[in-house]
């Protein structure tokens, strides 16, 4: 009698061979060896890598996923921004050191408390050769401000926008808004060629559509599912900032494949999503690693679900969390334990003041001491042990695995029960918008960053009307302080207010900060020039990349 072999849900032979091959392949492919450590040794830190010595024909750059669209009013995640920062330009421009300077607007001037006037450059041309006009600028700003547009929140305080001269746009706001000019260095300040966008209609942003921008590089070919090429804009209006490379090819792959592509020389660079990926690249003789300032911080974001509404439980968990352990385990030591919800890249003014205030913050130790744990236990006693276990969301990826495990460990240390719930990665982003999803977890971990070099840009998230203030935090006078800070254009005065907001936020531990992740770039030693800060999301970084040798 023979076995029925016709149907094999998972063919046995293949399964065994696969399992064996898998385990063997793991051993064989591991060039670093089982004892290898990824502790950083020679990672430079600064806003840029060294200046390019000469031009280059082409290079290949890795990103982690294919862009969804090039219409940044529809979607603007890291993949889209990394590419389009080289193609589209803004009224203001974020610099590698994360300061903001006028760009397509040669001047931006507050003419009253609520009125800002942009004086536009006259020499800007789009990629199709047509000159940029004030009508294009006004139309672009109105498009960004439209309901549902990705950057519409940047225009929340705007009451009117008008063309007030051949090269002049006047914007009227409800109140003086110190952050508005910085927002114009982000995607809310992109100037589009109206004629091109309207001609493309709904097709604009798709693989077959041309770009409608004026940057040093223009869209070449988007081979859907394969790669995207940018080509040097032939007659770029700012000849001094023209691209050093003629062609740039973007390919996408997961972290493992990016490491392989860089070490094998198939690709020449990548901005790494996770600093942990830099660990194995440090061992390569062909690759250089650099880090730079960013505003990124991984935090445990408390939801309105239950126990975490009590700030004492949040404070207790923060005191017991082993941030040092998380940075080692999740980021190979290439991140820093952090005490605030926004990174030092946001200290774009009054940096020493912000730095000193940060150092004075308490309640978020790198490694909890016995005193911290005792304080935490006392807080739990005062608040009462929640009847239900604290639930922390995980998406199954490495970083969130570590953070959720650390949170469970912290909870156990101070007499709290905690458990992990896994939410699919594709659904994880819905935590910000879906209350029913938040009802499944008391905390979810996420990396949060802001596009402005101003902490006020983050701390507005603690206002009573803010969408991400899930625990209904209501610090005394917080809302009015946010408004006052937003309206204060004197840097010293605004820094003082921002620090006050920071103190309110961290005292209440609205979110539990975990680790600051600097921007991390990996690049072949044959090329150089790219900024190593988080500016690559908005600054035309690829234009600066050239040969490292003359």
């Amino acid at each position: 009698m023979k076995r029925n072999d016709k149907f094999k849900p998972f063919a046995r032979t293949g399964v065994i061979a696969g399992a064996a091959a898998f385990t063997l392949a793991l051993s064989a492919c591991n060039a670093a060896g089982p004892q290898a450590q990824s502790t950083p040794t020679d990672v430079s830190f600064g806003p840029t890598t060294s200046e390019a010595a000469g031009k280059i024909d082409s290079f290949t750059w890795m990103i982690t996923q294919e862009p969804a669209t090039f219409d940044l009013d529809i979607d603007s995640a890291t993949a889209e921004n990394t590419i389009m920062s080289n193609v589209c330009e803004r009224l203001m421009q974020l610099q590698p050191d994360l300061t903001t300077t006028p760009h397509l607007a040669e001047k931006a001037e507050w003419t009253s408390d609520t009125t800002v006037v942009f004086t536009l450059r006259k020499d800007v041309t789009f990629h199709d050769g047509t000159p940029m006009t004030a009508d294009d600028v006004l139309w672009s700003m109105q498009r960004h401000a439209a309901k549902g547009a990705d950057e519409s929140d940047e225009y929340a305080n705007v009451t009117d926008m008008a063309k007030t001269g051949d090269n002049q746009i006047t914007v009227t706001l409800k109140q003086r808004d110190a952050i508005f000019l910085q927002a114009m260095a982000g995607n809310g300040g992109i100037v589009l060629n109206r004629k091109v966008v309207e001609a493309q209609g709904a097709n604009y942003g798709s693989p077959s559509a041309p770009d409608a921008c004026s940057g040093p590089l223009k869209l070449g070919k988007w081979s859907a599912g394969s790669n995207i090429t940018l080509t040097k804009a032939a007659d770029y209006w700012d000849a001094d900032s023209a691209s050093l490379a003629d062609t740039i090819t973007f390919r996408w792959a997961d972290d493992n494949a990016i490491v392989n592509a860089l070490t094998s020389g198939e690709a020449q660079g990548a901005y790494l999503d996770s600093p942990a990926t830099a660990g194995p690249l440090q061992k390569s003789r062909k690759v250089q690693i650099a880090q730079g300032p960013s505003t990124n911080v991984w935090s445990l974001i408390a939801t309105e679900r239950g126990a975490l509404k009590d700030e004492r439980i949040r404070q207790a968990l923060s005191l017991a969390l082993n941030r040092q352990g998380v940075t080692q385990a999740a980021f190979g030591g290439l991140a820093k334990p952090w005490k605030a919800p926004v990174g030092p890249g946001a200290w774009g003014y009054e940096e020493p003041t912000f730095s000193a205030a940060y150092e004075a913050l308490a309640g978020a130790p790198a490694q909890p001491s016995n005193d911290d744990l005792e304080k935490a236990k006392k807080l739990v006693q005062e608040a009462g042990v929640p009847a239900e276990p604290i639930v922390v969301a995980n998406s199954g990826d490495s970083i969130r695995n570590v953070i959720s495990s650390a949170l469970v460990e912290a909870a156990q240390k101070i007499g709290l029960k905690a458990e992990i719930v896994t939410i699919p990665r594709q659904q994880y982003g819905d935590f910000y918008s879906d209350a029913s999803l938040r009802a499944q977890a008391d905390l979810f971990s996420d990396e949060y960053y802001i596009s402005k070099n101003d902490p006020v840009g983050f701390y507005k998230n603690g206002a009573s009307t803010a969408k991400v203030n899930f625990v209904k935090f209501a610090g005394e006078g917080y809302d009015s302080k946010v408004k006052e800070a937003q309206a204060t254009t004197d840097d010293a005065a605004r820094a003082k207010l921002a620090i006050d907001l920071e103190k309110h936020w961290t005292d209440a531990m609205v979110w539990i900060p975990v680790a600051h992740t600097p921007a991390t770039i990996a690049m072949s030693k044959d090329i150089t020039g790219a900024p190593s800060s988080a500016s690559f999301l908005y600054y035309p970084w690829a234009a600066d990349v050239g040969s490292s040798k003359k």
């Binding site: 149907f7 998972f10 399992a19 385990t23 492919c29 591991n30 194995p280 650390a406």
Partner: protein, 287 residues
């Protein structure tokens, strides 16, 4: 009825006839060891399955941690032992379910024949035509992920193969004289199937199920690896492989290698035991 002689199992012991079958004995010994470790996990594991220790992350095998540690300093040996429970119970549960479905369908089809056989055969053919993994993923998409759904989904995927196998065995069994004898005496079909036919199918079916156990273990581990089965903080082996992945590019192979090797070793051992068992039981069944 007692005067009727129904075929019984031969008296020869199933196990132990070939004393020099080293692979079989080693495999059996290994499996017994794994089962014992799973049963005694709380007593034999040196650490709790989810004990985090950030001072001991990514450690290679050594004195403190026999098989090393993972990304958050969890002891891999302890997780492996604790995870053996879920990793072994999962395929057991799925085979139990699949066997109930499959044997019922196969026996009913064989006994009734005619249109019932045709309809059941077509249904199982349709199941055969559908890729197993895709079917399981679809079930999980509808009912949600987790170990219970994965087990039920896989049981549904495995049931047709067991049904086909059972049907062919049952058809052969029905040609035996004792079946006609019982029929002549007016014994009902259901009673005859449950009391005599199905028990007589057990030996060859058992051997086949042991082999399927290995497939089931691998399939469940695959689903956990893909995020559809066991969920953190479980130490199910497929999930351990998935969680260890991030260490590979950093040069830390142990968190993936250890559970991966455990899966491979158990699957190989189960197959060696299953094939031997199947051969011996089949030869006696055919006699």
């Amino acid at each position: 009825m007692s005067s009727l002689s129904t075929p019984t199992l031969a008296s020869t012991p199933v196990i132990g006839r070939k004393k020099r079958d080293v692979a079989y004995l080693v495999s059996l010994g290994f499996l017994l060891l794994v089962v014992a470790a799973a049963l005694l996990a709380p007593w034999v594991a040196p650490y709790a399955a989810n004990a985090v220790d950030f001072t001991a992350i990514w450690q290679a095998p050594g004195a403190g941690h026999l098989l090393g540690t993972d990304q958050v300093g969890q002891d891999l040996f302890s997780r492996l032992i604790h995870g053996a429970r879920e990793s072994l119970l999962g395929p057991l549960a799925l085979l139990a379910l699949a066997t109930v479905f499959g044997v019922t369908i196969g026996t009913v089809a064989a006994w009734n024949g005619g249109w019932i056989d045709v309809v059941l055969a077509r249904i199982t053919d349709v199941m055969f035509a559908f890729p197993g993994l895709l079917f399981v993923v679809l079930v999980i998409a509808v009912f949600g992920k987790g170990p219970a759904t994965a087990i039920v989904a896989l049981a549904l995927a495995y049931a047709p193969v067991i049904a086909k196998f059972t049907r062919s065995l049952a058809l052969a069994e029905m040609t035996r004289p004792y079946v006609d004898a019982y029929r002549v005496q007016g014994v009902g079909g259901a009673f005859l199937c449950v009391r005599y036919i199905i028990p007589n199918l057990t030996p060859p079916l058992l051997g086949y199920l042991v082999v399927l156990f290995g497939e089931g273990l691998m399939s469940l581990a695959t689903l956990s690896f893909l995020g559809f089965g066991a969920q953190p903080p479980s130490s199910e082996w497929g999930l351990m492989v998935q969680e260890g992945q991030s260490g590979i590019i950093q040069g830390h192979i142990w968190p993936t290698l250890v559970p991966g090797a455990a899966i491979a070793a158990v699957v190989v051992a189960v197959n060696v035991v299953g094939v031997r068992l199947s051969d011996r039981l089949n030869s006696r069944f055919e006699r």
